[in-house]
C-alpha cells in the first residue's frame, strides 16, 4: 500500500506541478510540491523512505524541467533524509513547528539550488532570495500546513507514524 501511495505521488506530482500550479502563482512563483511531499514523507516514514522518494521525485520533476537531473534528485533526496532524521529527534510536532520548519527548509533549498545549477549572472543570490526562494517558501509552508492539517483531521498520525517507522 505504501509503495502504491509513493508511486502515485511520484507519477502524479509532475502533471500537478507543470499544468495546474502555473495558474496558482504568487508573484509569478509557484509552490514546489516536491519539497512539501518529501518533507512530510521523511517526517512520517523515516529517512530511508524520505531519501528514496526524494530522489525519485527530484528525478521525475527534473525530467520535465531544464534543471539538471543530479541536482534535482540529490537535493530532494537529501531533504527527505534530513526530514527523516529530524522526525526521529522530535518528541512532538505541532502544525506551527511544521509550517516554520517548511519555511526554513524551503528557503535553504532555494538558496542552495541557484548555486548548484550555476545560473546566469543576472540570477544572483539576492535575486534568488527575493524573487524565488522567499515566495516559494511561503507557499510551501502554507500548502504543507494545509496538507498536514487535513491528514491530522482524517487520520491518526501518531499511529500512522508508528506503523510507518516499524
Amino acid at each position: 500500500m505504501k509503495a502504491f501511495i509513493y508511486g502515485v505521488i511520484i507519477v502524479g506530482i509532475v502533471p500537478v506541478q507543470s499544468v495546474v500550479l502555473p495558474h496558482l502563482t504568487l508573484w509569478g512563483v509557484k509552490p514546489d510540491l516536491g519539497i512539501v511531499a518529501v518533507c512530510l514523507i521523511g517526517l512520517i516514514s523515516g529517512e530511508l523512505d524520505g531519501l528514496l522518494v526524494g530522489v525519485a521525485v527530484g528525478w521525475a520533476l527534473s525530467l520535465f524541467s531544464a534543471q539538471d537531473m543530479i541536482t534535482g534528485a540529490i537535493l530532494k533526496g537529501g531533504l527527505g533524509f534530513v526530514a527523516g532524521l529530524a522526525g526521529r529527534q522530535m518528541v512532538y510536532l505541532s502544525p506551527l513547528v511544521l509550517v516554520s520548519g517548511l519555511l526554513v527548509v524551503s528557503c535553504l533549498v532555494g538558496l542552495v539550488t541557484p548555486l548548484a545549477l550555476k545560473l546566469n549572472s543576472q540570477q544572483d543570490l539576492w535575486w534568488a532570495v527575493w524573487n524565488v526562494a522567499l515566495p516559494q517558501a511561503c507557499l510551501d509552508a502554507v500548502i504543507g500546513g494545509a496538507i498536514y492539517w487535513l491528514m491530522w483531521s482524517q487520520f491518526n498520525i501518531e499511529q500512522l507514524m508508528s506503523e510507518s517507522r516499524m
Binding site: V14, E47, F64, S65, A66, Q67, Y92, L93, Q122, M166
Partner: protein, 290 residues
C-alpha cells in the same frame, strides 16, 4: 500534540545511510556517468509520467476552451476591429514583401547563390510549463520518438520560441527565448550587426555585443543570424525597445520585446533539420566545380 514512536528498525537506518553515502560519492566521483545513468533510466519513467501529464493537460485545455469560448468574450468587438486594421496593414506589407522576394530570387539566381535548404518542421502542442521556478520552459507533447532532439530550434509562424534542452520518448522541454540561460545568435535586420540574444529576469530579451559603431535604434527588428545550430537565418526574434550604451564599454546592448509571447503560446513548430554546414564542412576547402 502527539508523541513519536522512536522504535525504528536499525536495518532501515543502515540502508538509508549507505544509500545516502553511495549517492554522494557517485555525485562527487562520477557526475557525468551518474547523469547519463539518470537520463538513460529516465526514459521509461518519463514515458510513464507523460500519460497522466497528457491527461491533465487535456482536461486543462478543455476547461480553457470553455472559458475562452463563453466567458472571456468581453472586449472581443474592439479586438476584432483592431485585428481588421492590422490585417489591412499586413496585406499591404505582404504585397511589398512579395515584390522584394521576387527581386531577391532573380538576383540570387544571377549571382548563383546556393539556395538555403528549407528545414523540416514538426508541429507540437504545449502541454505544460516548467516544474520548477528556476527556468522558463514549456513542455511539448512530442519527443525523441518523433525525431525531436536536444538543441533543435522551436518557432511559431510569428517567430522564435526557444530551444529544445531535454527529451523523453514522448515529451520535450523547450528553454524559452526569455530565459536568461538561453543564448541565440541574432542579427539586427536593418544594420546587419550581429550579437547574442539572451533572456532577462523580467521576461524580456536582450541583444548583447552590438558593435559600438552600430546605429541600431528602437523599432529595429532582430532576427536569427543562422550562425548557431538549430535556427536558419532570418527568423524573427523581437523588436528593439531601448539601446543601452555605457561609458567606456566595448559593446552596446539592446532591450528586446520578443515577437512571441511565451506565456500564450499553445502550438509550436520544431525545426528538425536546418541544413546548416557543420564546423568540419565550413573549415574544409571548397569543392571544385565540375
Amino acid at each position: 500534540m502527539w508523541m513519536v514512536n522512536l522504535r525504528v528498525t536499525s536495518n532501515a537506518r543502515r540502508v538509508a545511510l549507505v544509500l545516502a553515502v553511495v549517492l554522494i560519492l557517485g555525485v562527487l566521483l562520477l557526475p557525468g556517468q551518474l547523469q547519463s545513468v539518470f537520463q538513460g533510466v529516465g526514459g521509461p519513467l518519463g514515458w510513464l509520467i507523460s500519460w497522466p501529464l497528457r491527461a491533465v493537460a487535456g482536461v486543462h485545455d478543455r476547461i480553457a476552451g470553455v472559458w475562452g469560448s463563453y466567458v472571456a468574450l468581453q472586449g472581443m468587438e474592439e479586438e476584432n476591429r483592431q485585428l481588421k486594421r492590422e490585417l489591412e496593414l499586413l496585406k499591404e506589407q505582404n504585397g511589398q514583401l512579395r515584390e522584394s522576394a521576387a527581386a531577391t530570387e532573380r538576383l540570387a539566381a544571377l549571382l548563383e547563390f546556393k539556395k538555403q535548404a528549407l528545414p523540416t518542421l514538426i508541429a507540437a502542442q504545449v502541454i505544460g510549463r516548467d516544474t520548477g521556478n528556476w527556468y522558463k520552459t514549456i513542455i511539448l507533447d512530442k519527443g525523441s520518438s518523433d525525431g525531436i532532439q536536444a538543441d533543435q530550434g522551436v518557432i511559431t509562424p510569428a517567430g522564435v520560441v526557444g530551444r529544445i534542452v531535454k527529451t523523453t520518448a514522448s515529451t520535450a522541454v523547450v528553454l524559452l527565448v526569455t530565459d536568461p540561460n538561453n543564448a541565440i545568435a541574432g542579427l539586427i535586420q536593418r544594420t546587419r550587426d550581429e550579437g547574442i540574444v539572451e533572456g532577462t529576469t523580467q521576461g524580456q530579451a536582450r541583444l548583447k555585443y552590438i558593435p559600438l559603431l552600430s546605429n541600431a535604434r528602437p523599432g529595429d527588428r532582430v532576427v536569427t543570424s543562422g550562425l548557431v545550430e538549430g535556427f536558419p537565418r532570418g527568423l524573427a526574434i523581437g523588436t528593439i525597445t531601448r539601446i543601452d550604451k555605457e561609458e567606456e564599454a566595448l559593446f552596446q546592448s539592446a532591450e528586446l520585446t520578443p515577437e512571441v509571447d511565451p506565456n500564450r503560446v499553445e502550438e509550436v513548430l520544431v525545426i528538425q533539420s536546418a541544413q546548416l554546414p557543420t564546423e568540419k564542412e565550413r573549415l574544409s576547402p571548397p569543392r571544385p566545380k565540375p
